[in-house]
């Protein structure tokens, strides 16, 4: 049985393709049942916005075709899914999952969200996974944790929206309970708001030129968020802690006068303004005001780039951990495969021995019971002698992680092709 991963990710497929391959949680069981029906013994489907990957434990070699066929159907435009994808087998497949779980294969190096997604994928696929993939995913989660604990590959915030959280955090410390106002309805502002909300910030106000759009975002952000028009927003500068600006205005709408007017009522409390709009929504002079901290998209990208650079220096250490863990898994996996094959091998030779012994004894009717027993012991001793060296060699190879190739050779040489669990 081999372990295979096949799928697409942000490096091999454009967004419109990845979007079509993405499987919602409720679609996972049906997809896996289809792949298992094609001959796989176990399967796990990992589907995120950046990757859709099928992990298979399979013997027949036909399950991958079923996966490509399933994904091609989702494209529904005549293109084949395989042209966007990749296949990794055995040790490379294990390494791939470990790197994914550790965030080494992510668009943002070291991001932690992927580990939760790997865990969720395993939980959704648990009934279809089988023992090998079960163990593989358990170990992948442990590898992800180990890499993040023992290296700094997950340190800092390496994306612009999460850098917004880092900057606000350097001003306010604990962000839980802080209040934020969103001006405008840009995608980046929504992402930054989502990051802040995950840290406990209450996005209580959403202001937009179009009131309906503001209300839609407010509803999306949950209870407690209120929609405003832009004109209503200025008075709230006196109360909130964080302002995220992302309007499509062609010129700065947050002026020095408007912010300065709100400062007296703030009683020297810091105000963090994150201007994510291009062209900028906030006059640069606003940043000169006492206790006002103004950052634009370039600043966020600088923070993110610095974190990414720090993370990149940790790649060799992280890869070293992955290598160690791959070897450990492969040793376990080789050992797992050795036991049933050795049992088959011994059983097959034992059957031959018994048959040949019976045939020989028929030609020797004058032997006493003691002599018959002596002959039987001789054949058993010979069989044990013959089996000893291959058994030791196989177990050693399994411990070294090289057992799989030897087992395959043994199966072919001795015709041990019977399907096993």
């Amino acid at each position: 049985m081999s372990i295979t991963v096949l799928g697409v990710n942000h490096l091999t497929a454009p967004l419109d393709v990845r979007e079509r391959f993405w499987h919602a949680g409720h679609e996972v069981p049906a997809a896996l049942e289809r792949v298992l029906a094609a001959g796989a013994q176990g399967g796990v489907l990992l589907s995120t916005c950046n990757r859709t990957e099928f992990y298979l434990a399979e013997e027949s070699g036909v399950a991958p075709e079923a996966v490509w066929s399933l994904l091609s159907e989702r494209l529904a435009d005549g293109r084949g899914a395989a042209e966007f994808g990749y296949v990794r087998r055995d040790r490379d497949a294990v390494r791939h999952l470990y790197r994914v779980s550790a965030g080494l294969d992510s668009m943002i190096l070291g991001e932690s969200q992927i580990q939760g997604q790997v865990k969720q994928a395993w939980e959704l696929s648990r009934v279809h996974a089988g023992p090998v993939l079960h163990r593989l995913f358990q170990s992948a989660l442990a590898v992800g944790s180990r890499v993040r604990t023992e290296t700094a590959v997950g340190m800092g915030n390496a994306s612009a929206p999460s850098a917004a959280v880092e900057l606000a955090g350097k001003i306010f410390g604990d962000l839980a309970g802080r209040e934020a106002l969103i001006l405008g309805a840009g995608d980046m502002a929504e992402l930054a708001a989502a990051c802040l909300v995950s840290e406990g910030v209450r996005v209580s106000l959403v202001a937009n030129r179009t009131y309906e759009r503001a209300r839609a975002i407010a509803e999306q952000l949950g209870a407690g968020s209120r929609a405003l028009t832009l004109d209503e927003a200025w008075e709230h500068f006196a109360a909130v802690d964080i302002v995220i600006c992302s309007t499509a205005a062609p010129h700065a709408i947050v002026t020095w006068q408007r912010v300065a007017a709100a400062l007296h009522a703030r009683r020297r409390r810091p105000l963090c303004i994150l201007d994510l709009a291009v062209p900028r929504d906030v006059e640069p002079a606003v940043g000169q005001l006492e206790n006002v901290f103004l950052y634009d998209i370039d600043d966020l990208q600088t923070v993110a780039a610095a974190a990414a650079a720090r993370r990149r220096t940790e790649i060799p250490r992280a890869e070293h951990i992955v290598d160690q863990e791959v070897e450990e898994f492969w040793t376990w996996y080789g050992g797992l495969a050795v036991v049933p094959v050795l049992r088959d091998f011994r059983g097959r030779l034992e059957a031959v021995r018994a048959a040949e012994l019976e045939r020989a004894l028929k030609h020797l009717p004058d032997l006493t019971a003691a002599e018959r027993e002596q002959v039987e012991r001789l054949t058993e001793a010979l069989l044990n002698k013959f089996l000893h060296q291959p058994t030791v060699a196989l177990k050693t190879a399994a411990q070294d992680g090289r057992g799989y190739a030897l087992l395959d050779a043994l199966r072919r040489l001795f015709g041990l092709e019977a399907p096993r669990e």
């Binding site: 700094a152 800092g156 900057l167 955090g169 350097k170 001003i171 306010f172 410390g173 009683r267 020297r268 409390r269 810091p270 940043g287 006492e290 206790n291 901290f293 950052y295 600043d299 600088t302 923070v303 610095a306």
Partner: protein, 264 residues
């Protein structure tokens, strides 16, 4: 024994200084636990060393002040994760212990039991009060540096390893609000001690002047924070100015009456 304990504490404070400086020397941030362990080990040995010293004299006073600073550093780290405080306290403690060793440390004779406990409490509370003022100064200095980093958008090592502004502001307020009653109690004990044992103890005017001046400065710093609601940069400048004034007055008085026998 006293010397050995102080020497080991000095070495550990030296290691703590190196660990605190590590991120700025490109070595990478030390484990927080390691930093805490080294400082705590130094403080533990230092406590034993200080307990064998006399309660008066410049060298024992410097040693006690260093110990108070390290204990406050550990408390700041544990309560507010303000690791960067060690950037000031660790070298300061090492310097003070080193100076105390140079001036000469020796086990002291025990003062008569009633007076001894009274004096010990006065000295300990007073030095903790001064150490709290120093901690307020350190938090204020860190605040101003981090404020500048955030305003000028420099996202380097200081930005990375210094605590957030509001946490430093809180540490500054905490140090002042706790430090003032501590010092007040120390001063009250001194007054009570002088009255109770009138004639038996020699009270130096310089000590009285510096003690009262420090108390007034600390009281003013608390007043502007708590009553006038100063916060942020203004409060930081107030703490720095107050601590600088206390140091200046001390050095001025010390220059007027030099000598290593007395703290003042």
């Amino acid at each position: 024994m006293v010397l050995s304990l102080h020497l080991i504490a000095l070495a550990l404070y030296g290691v703590a200084t190196a660990l605190a400086l590590a991120p700025f020397l490109g070595v990478g941030a030390p484990w927080r636990v390691l930093m805490l362990a080294v400082s705590a080990a130094g403080a533990a040995l230092h406590v034993v060393g200080v307990s064998q010293l006399p309660v008066v004299g410049l060298a024992p006073s410097l040693s006690l002040l260093a110990l108070c600073l390290v204990l406050l550093q550990l408390a700041s780290e544990a309560l507010l994760r303000a690791s960067a405080v060690a950037l000031f306290t660790a070298p300061l403690a090492a310097g003070l212990v080193g100076l105390a060793l140079l001036l000469g440390l020796a086990p002291g004779a025990e003062v008569a039991s009633g007076r001894g406990a009274w004096l010990l409490l006065h000295v300990a509370l007073s030095f903790f009060g001064v150490a709290f003022l120093a901690l307020a100064f350190i938090a204020a200095a860190l605040y101003l540096v981090q404020f500048r980093q955030l305003k000028t958008k420099r996202f380097g090592q200081v930005f990375q390893y210094f605590p957030p502004l509001e946490r430093l502001d809180r540490l500054n307020q905490f140090a002042l609000v706790v430090g003032f009653p501590t010092l007040t109690l120390g001063v009250l004990l001194a007054i009570g001690y002088a009255v109770h044992f009138a004639g038996a103890v020699q009270v130096d005017k310089a000590q009285v002047v510096w003690g009262m001046f420090t108390w007034v400065v600390l009281g003013w710093a608390v007043w502007v924070r708590v009553v006038r609601h100063w916060a942020g940069r203004r409060a930081a400048f107030a703490s720095i100015a107050g601590f600088a004034a206390v140091l200046l007055v001390y050095f001025a008085l010390k220059l007027a009456v030099p000598g290593a026998e007395r703290f003042l």
